[in-house]
């Protein structure tokens, strides 16, 4: 029970923490405080509460596959927003002076807010459904509360360490790290969206193309961490692998384009 609470909370927290850490590291480039983040978190919690409370109604859409379609939509939107975030970030970084930063600052904050809001909407709703289900069951409350604390604790700690890790990197190394994480995150999101659509039977699945569960089981704690951070699947379908690569390539292409447009600084492609 405890382990399950931990894993359930940890998975969702870790994903959000990773995203927020990277966006905060980008925010360093723009400055201007973190009011947008507070707004995004509060807004995201509100929309996730709405989603959680309407979960059974949403489930009935599209012949009982509404959840999958909604999640896939959220995940695809997050991917697109990540592309926009990477673009504004690199445009600003390659220009390298404050006037451009001020010019892109509002746009970046807008995209970052939307990204975090949508991510929390999806992840928060699952946590909320879980917590609300247990709230009235005194016998499980202790276990669930302990599990949640451990899950949140580990998730937020990893987020803080990633954040300061990114802060401690200098110049183009930081940019390379940020873009790599964003690329993996986008790949993860597209892969998950594809899985949702397979589950809803919108995409035909040909079954798993490999099985690496003997190397790293999805059930192990390490497997769970890899799933949350990198979107690791022990038995992915072909469509998922293609989607994962598409996400990575899209972010890298966007980055290269953003850097190419300014010939003075095109050399430092991430």
């Amino acid at each position: 029970m405890l382990l399950n609470s931990v894993i359930l909370i940890l998975q969702e927290t870790l994903e959000a923490a990773l995203l927020i850490s990277v966006l905060l590291a980008i925010n360093l480039q723009f400055g201007g405080g973190v009011r947008w983040l507070i707004l995004a978190i509060v807004g995201g919690l509100a929309t996730s509460a709405l989603y959680a409370s309407q979960m059974s109604r949403v489930s009935e859409w599209f012949e009982y596959t509404g959840q999958e379609v909604t999640n896939a939509l959220l995940q695809t939107s997050i991917t697109l927003l990540i592309l926009l975030c990477s673009w504004t970030f690199l445009r600003c970084w390659s220009a390298g002076h404050d006037k451009v930063a001020a010019h892109y600052s509002f746009r970046f904050h807008l995209f970052a807010t939307a990204t975090v809001l949508l991510a929390i909407t999806r992840e928060g709703s699952e946590i909320l459904v879980y917590l609300m289900g247990f709230y009235h069951q005194a016998s499980f409350f202790h276990t669930m509360a302990s599990g949640s604390i451990i899950g949140f604790g580990i998730g937020i700690s990893v987020g803080v360490l990633i954040l300061y890790g990114l802060f401690s990197l200098q110049g183009k190394w930081r940019v390379a790290a940020i873009i790599s994480i964003l690329a993996l995150f986008a790949g993860n999101m597209l892969s998950q969206a594809t899985l949702q659509l397979i589950q809803a039977d919108w995409i035909e699945s040909a079954g798993a193309i490999w099985n690496s569960s003997s190397l790293l089981s999805e059930e192990s704690l390490a497997g769970k961490l890899m799933y949350a951070l990198l979107g690791y699947e022990a038995t992915p379908s072909g469509a998922q692998v293609i989607a994962y690569c598409t996400g990575i390539i899209l972010v890298l292409l966007t980055s290269m384009l953003a850097l190419k447009m300014n010939p003075t600084n095109g050399k430092a492609a991430a």
Binding site: M1, L2, L161, S168, L221
Partner: protein, 439 residues
């Protein structure tokens, strides 16, 4: 990274939380496995016990919500069972542990064939209760960790703050230093980490002081040395003019240039005299209005020659100050105003009490000073628009630097704003109201 303290606390606490929580999880996992093993052993004991009960005796006293259940099967018939099991076999007859759902619960089951009595014992224990029991025991041991994390957070915060305090003190000492105080820092640099920064700071201060001293000394010495030859030049020129009256145009220009040179030298000496370490303040109670009127009268000729209209108004304002320095201040402001105001322009001088003290305002109708230059005009040798100033006036750019020095010596402040005329500048010197000055 804005704060070393936040960085240290956040990272240390995160690492501690991560390690402790993961360790707690690992502990939980192995405890649960151990508990599982113990419960299985218990189930085996129960099964053995049931197997050895006298044959044919049906134990039905176990109630419906009992945590264990069993069946005894002999040659395909149910010979004994607890009340909470169905009529059919709860699991297949293959020896070992397994899981099964019946009676609305999930059970941990054991199939055990008793060779002596030639029958199967199927024993079961409810999984939910079994896990709940083990979990509650283990959770009790995890709880103190949750309380310890926030306490650790507070402790780490305090320790880090204590550790950073020498740095804070060091910063405070640097901060509280007067602008002209270049004496070495006295903070005891007993900490190894601060020793170096302290020593290098002191070396820097030392070098700075030496070079500043050299610069000041050089300027004042040079000015002093120049005074005598300039005086001699003037006399020689005067004699020359007397001897050759036909070359008046040439000599007048030369006279002007030498006068200007003399002026620059005097200004440099003024600046030197008004520097804090040279200034021998003889603060007396002064009526600023009377003094201003005197200076205006003295400078009147200058304005008259440019057809400039000079207006003065003021009430009697008393303050503690240095008479000579204040006169120099006003003279500089007035000559500045005259210089940069075109012919036929207007200059207003006023002295008034304000809410916070005494305001001396000199306004002109000149071209004004652009906003981004208003700070730099007080720097030495700075001239608005470089030397391409439209006024065509010569100057050395020291006047306002002297004004600023004198303003600072009187703990006053100076500000520049657009004048009340359509164009032009207003210099406002605000003297603070000391108790003694209100006489």
């Amino acid at each position: 990274m804005k704060s070393i303290r936040v960085f240290l606390v956040a990272v240390i606490l995160s690492i501690i939380t991560l390690f402790i929580f993961v360790a707690a999880l690992k502990g939980y996992q192995s405890s649960m496995q151990e508990a599982d093993r113990l419960f299985d052993k218990q189930l085996l004991d129960t099964a053995t016990l049931i197997a050895n009960l006298p044959a044919g005796q049906s134990v039905t006293k176990l109630s419906n919500n009992s945590t264990i259940a069993f069946q005894v099967w002999q040659h395909g018939t149910l010979v004994a069972a607890s009340a909470n099991v169905p009529e059919t076999a709860i699991i297949s007859f293959s020896p070992g542990f397994a899981y099964s759902n019946f009676g609305g619960y999930r059970w941990r089951t054991l199939a055990y064939f008793d060779n002596d009595n030639d029958h199967w014992v199927l024993a079961a224990e409810r999984t939910d209760l079994r896990y709940a029991l083990a979990e509650n025991v283990i959770l009790e041991s995890i709880f103190p960790i949750f309380i310890s994390i926030p306490l650790l957070g507070i402790l780490i915060w305090l320790i880090v703050s204590r550790g950073l305090r020498p740095l804070q003190k060091f910063a405070n000492e640097l901060e509280s230093k007067q602008a002209d105080d270049l004496s070495p820092l006295t903070y005891p640099f007993t900490y190894q980490e601060l020793k170096q920064i302290g020593q290098s700071s002191n070396r820097l201060l030392e070098r700075l002081e030496t070079s500043l001293l050299r610069e000041k000394q050089f300027a004042s010495d040079a000015a002093h040395e120049l005074r005598t030859p300039i005086c001699a030049l003037k006399i020689q020129l005067h004699n020359l003019a007397d001897d050759r009256p036909e070359e008046t145009a040439g000599t007048r220009e030369l006279t002007d240039t030498i006068d200007r040179l003399g002026h620059v030298v005097e200004q440099i000496l003024d600046l030197y005299r008004s520097s804090p370490d040279q200034f021998n303040a003889s603060f007396t109670n002064i009526n600023l209005t009377t003094l201003a009127r005197e200076v205006v009268a003295r400078e009147y000729e200058r304005f008259d020659s440019k057809n400039q209209l000079l207006e003065f108004e003021g009430e009697d304002c008393f303050l503690l100050g240095d008479q000579f320095a204040l006169a120099t201040l006003m003279q500089n402001l007035l000559s500045n105003a005259s210089k940069y105001t075109p012919e036929g322009g207007q200059i207003n001088v006023s002295v008034h009490y304000s809410d916070s003290g005494i305001d001396l305002v000199v306004e002109d109708s000149g071209p004004g000073i652009p906003e981004d230059e208003r700070e730099t005009v007080f720097e030495r040798f700075y001239r608005v628009g470089r030397d391409r100033h439209a006024s065509g006036e010569a100057g050395c750019g020291l006047g306002l630097a002297i004004v600023k020095r004198i303003v600072e010596l009187h703990a006053a402040s100076i500000s520049i704003r657009p004048s009340g005329f359509t164009t032009g500048t207003a210099f406002q010197v605000s003297f603070p109201l000391t108790r003694k000055s209100v006489l």
